[in-house]
Amino acid sequence: MRDRMKKIKNMNKNTKSNLITYGIVIVAFLVMQTLISTGSISSLLEGLMVPLCIYIILAVSLNLVVGILGELSLGHAGFMCAGAFSSAFFSKCMKDVIENGTLRFILALLIGIAVAAVFGIIIGIPVLRLKGDYLAIVTLAFGEIIKNLVNVVFIGKDANGFHFSTKDVMDLNMELDGEVIVNGPQGITGTPQDSTFFIGVVLILITLFIVINLVNSRDGRAIMAIRDNRIAAESVGINITKYKLMAFTISAALAGGAGVLYAHNLSTLTANTNNFGYNMSINILVFVVLGGIGNIRGSMIAAVILTLLPEMLRGLSDYRMLIYAIVLILMMLFNWAPKSIEWREKYLSFGKKKKEAVK
């Protein structure tokens, strides 16, 4: 026991700060779970738990590109879309083949992540040649392209196998017993609802684990070196393209994971502006910016506050968005105003740590 105490004492500040991050997630989960099981929480709020997990994963993964790589990407919802549709497609096809819900979900998760990662690579290769505003605009466009692509895809399955069309259901030419799986703008219906709050929290922890450990490894240092000074990074022999693509792809893959969670939380999966369009991408970016760019714990907290707030304020109806806007401004000030940073460094220990080593 004493050894363990010693070990904790000797741990460097970073490790400690990371453990606190994991701890916050686990404690929050336990508290919410207790509240849910004792029934002291509204069903509306209970239904919000999985979306909350999705937003947190998206915010943390986008932070990898915006905060750690230092490039502005506005196509994050597109990768989420790729993960959602590929995994929903798989789950619907395998609904009767694999009876075990957990196994099916894990496989769907792996597929969703892999597909999103492939999209990340394909889009990343041309897009990462650009910088700043140009990169933002092009990623925005690619995000919209992914969303619109799934809106014109029709896939059906009958005794002869899969049928594919970009026109309509009739064009699939299926036998009478055929089943439409992806129905264009109507999306995918009847996906098994495997997502639970518990799975969501596990995915958050995995996402945090990947992002935090990546940042504190050799590859993470290379990525941050590129962010801080590209020319110097090149001069010490760092492969710029490789590490930019690595950060972008891992971020896309994690967003794909959030998409899988999303797809298996609803019975009907459609792609529209609000869930996979630029509205969503910008929403995620707001979490990242307000939580503090590069600050992983901050983006988590921002995602929670900004998701719960509109629901909590439902009673105020018309004033809801007004208060939401004021909270945005206050959070901005809290995070970025020099006076507030000074205050935080004085009174809150984690602010001090941030100054020494932003990780």
Partner: protein, 253 residues
Amino acid sequence: MAALLDVKNLGISFGGLRAVNGFDISIEKEQLYGLIGPNGAGKTTVFNLLTGVYKPDAGKVILDGQDITGKKTIDISKAGIARTFQNIRLFSKLSVLDNVKVGLHNKHHYSTIEGILRLHGYRKVEKEMNEQAMELLKVFDLADHADYLASNLPYGQQRRLEIARALATEPKLLLLDEPAAGMNPNETGELMEMIQFVREKFHMTILLIEHDMKLVSGICEKLTVLNFGEVLAQGDTASVLNDPQVITAYLGE
């Protein structure tokens, strides 16, 4: 003894401007070589040509028997040329220690998976990297500041950190671009001592660009003077600095 760096007839044009033309230089192992010249003479362009930032349109660069003409910056770094910059380029949001560890990047390897899962390879290699980086920081008197953000260091220490980072890549040749820029005479004196110390301790070959004549005449063994992109004079420090042509180029007619 064959020269460590052998450059023949190096040249580059930007549009109609011949920025560097017919540049020759030959640097022996463990030599301290100075490259001087008036503003705009093309000194930094030569550095950029040597490190692959620009591709030369004429000439050859041989480093330790290996032809590195027109190669990419990464490959040249791996071949053994490291540099510092005229305007300091540190990884400002990384700690001092991490700056040096980025310099060690290509000397130590473990896979991304090992890094994320914190496997044995990660722990072993990170430990080695930490030890090596701390050793370098000790040499440069920066070990006490290992946890500081690089941007929070005072100017002189930032310069030292940049040299430490360059040395972390274990180069054969170190290029210093105006290391004494913005330093007072005291700091310049310390810097001179440090450059000589680095040469002796690491058996380093150093090519430096400098305007401070006290520094140049104090430590450089040989000099090349560049004017309007062409070599004006070359040879032992004392004889070059007394060359009437060189004096004219610097002071005017």
